[in-house]
Amino acid sequence: MTTARRHAGPDPTHHDLEARTQEHYEWLAAEADKNLDRLEAQDPVHDVTLDDVLKRRGLSRRDFLKMSAVMTATLGLPPMFDLRVARAQEVATRLPVIWQELQSCSGNSMALIRNANPGTDELLLDLISLEYAEILMAPSGQAAEDVLADAIERYDGQYIAVFEGSVPVAEDGGYLTIGPTGETGVHKVEHISRHAAAVIAAGTCSAYGGIPAARPNPTTAMGVADFLGQRGIGTPVVNLPACPVSSTNVVGTILEYAMFGRLPSLDAYGRPLWAYQDRIHDKCERRGHFDAGEFVEGWTDIEGLKAGLCLFKVGCKGPMAYNNCGVVRYNEGASWPIMAGHGCIGCSEPGFWDTLTPFEVPLAGRVYSTPFGTDADADTIGTVALGAAAAGVAIHAGATALKAATESRSDAKKEQ
């Protein structure tokens, strides 16, 4: 096809594709405008405006538009959406959000609020109407519970529920109780999700169960989507795994929801494609060294570490992990694990704690428990099995030789 195009001028199907893409974007833009108009017509749920926030942060409108353009690109949208993303942030004051901690370490909240410089992420945190967030809110005890109950009632069917942490279902959810009445996490998730417009599972624990769900999973921890599926609650869920989830991905998903009134396209594991469709490996700055076969040989290989060689042999799981860390990075784009010199541990993959460990050897070194009491990797088990087979062969061959000797002796006797 390439050669044909080279000789016969522009490929007509290529033009078709371009036209169709343009048409699709225009349709998307119309959708966004319709939804943003609808949202703007609603009363703001709190009295913050974009101008206030910008002034407080010492940002100009120009800075704001630049940040919006970056966000647009991250969402995989063309420049015609720049102003729409900016508008989505302005009307985000109409978007009530409830952030509920479950069986979590609060690391995702921390990652979201610990930004050194004001960016889109933190800006949006100021703008959205965060009705309930244990980490950030002033009230505590019964007062906090009242706020939650009030928010659920007032914005029934309109708010976005963000969950952080896994849902422990063992012992009727008794492993996690929240608030002055000791309400279980199971009950909280059911109640909040049932009345939500959409659910965002922020972080690997709430997406797939994460570390609490690692074998042997004593609390029977599970991801929010799996839990809701089990309980037959049909609220749409978007999974934003990673440990912690990149704030860009949370903000992008909220913005996408504000813009289009629906959740983004998801992959097989419920992750938005705009953030999770590419492998870490394919967007890695050290990828060239991988293909060249140049690896950091171990943590004492100072030369290799200094040269920034590929971290595959010290256990990088980038080839098995899907996320956009290499592009958006963490802490305002400052760095990310592979840039800092440690391999990816695949924290945004389902069951990563069981399937991708040990973290500092390649996947081939994955350890299995054996009936002999010691754990071993596949190659060790295979080598032992090969040795056992070889021993069996030797014994069988020896036995056959003995048998053949007796047989020929008895044959000789018979002939006599």
């Binding site: 097989a268 594991y269 492998r279 490996h281 394919d282 991988f290 293909d291 060249a292 076969g293 140049e294 690896f295 030369e303 290799g304 040269a307 060689l309 595959f312 042999k313 799981k317 080839p319 098995m320 695949g346 993959e349 389902p350 069951g351 990563f352 399937t355 991708l356 390649p362 996947l363 081939a364 070194g365 994955r366 596949a378 088990i381 295979g382 099995a385 090969l386 087979a389 070889a390 062969v393 069988h396 061959a397 036995a399 056959t400 048998k403 053949a404 047989e407 044959d411």
Partner: protein
Amino acid sequence: MTTDTRRLPPRKDAVVLEREGRPRMVVYVFGRYVRAAHWIRNALLIWLVLSGIYLGNPFLARSLTGDTSSTFTLAQVRGWHVAAGWILLAFTIARIYQFLFINERGRLGLGKELKMAPILVNWKAWRDQLAFYLLMRREHPHFTYSNYGPLQYLVYTALYAALLIISVTGILIAAPYLQSGVAVWSAGLLSPIETALGGIANVRTLHHVTMWFFILFTLVHIYMAVWNSMRTGNLLVEGIISGFAAKDMPDAREATDDDFEAPGEPAAEDTTKEG
């Protein structure tokens, strides 16, 4: 295969050898394709295992001297690993097609080998076969409707299943490294398998573990082939090179179609009796 068939020695002209004190006739059992495919698959598997071990844990030392900007050691090993995998898959598909759809007459139909499946639940066959392997009986059991013993049938079926598993997982692993083409296209079709397995990491693990089946199979297969060939004097190890193996004289017991095929009939394709 018709040229091979014409060289099948008719009963009267069969070369008769004295083996283990008994007269044996030497007949043509492995056609050219069967022999070529056997050794090509063997070579491919050796390369795939060696290169696969490298890809799982790259052991070749790097060069830190001079410019390595145009060095692509791992990418090249991966490329040739994937290429060999596709060739192996082609042979596997041909073999499975033959197994399922080539009948006794060498024509399209219900596979001759597929029809041998009842050997798997023939408990007398199991007992006789295992007794023979455990040196509790001297004569190789004779199965009238199957070229294979039950254990052999089970292991060969498992081998084709393993070849399919390692090919499917291989395609799923290879596809993300490619921009377009048949791997990307077929990985799109196969992606539900990846999802069901719980992600690309488990696909890789399965690919790696399946490799050990081939390594173990090779050891046991070679031993059983040599052992059978020596114990029964059926010349099957020589047969996979020359095509000719020894069979009991048909008149020694009740003659079956397998013992003798008239000229013009296609040769029995894969009468592996080694183990």
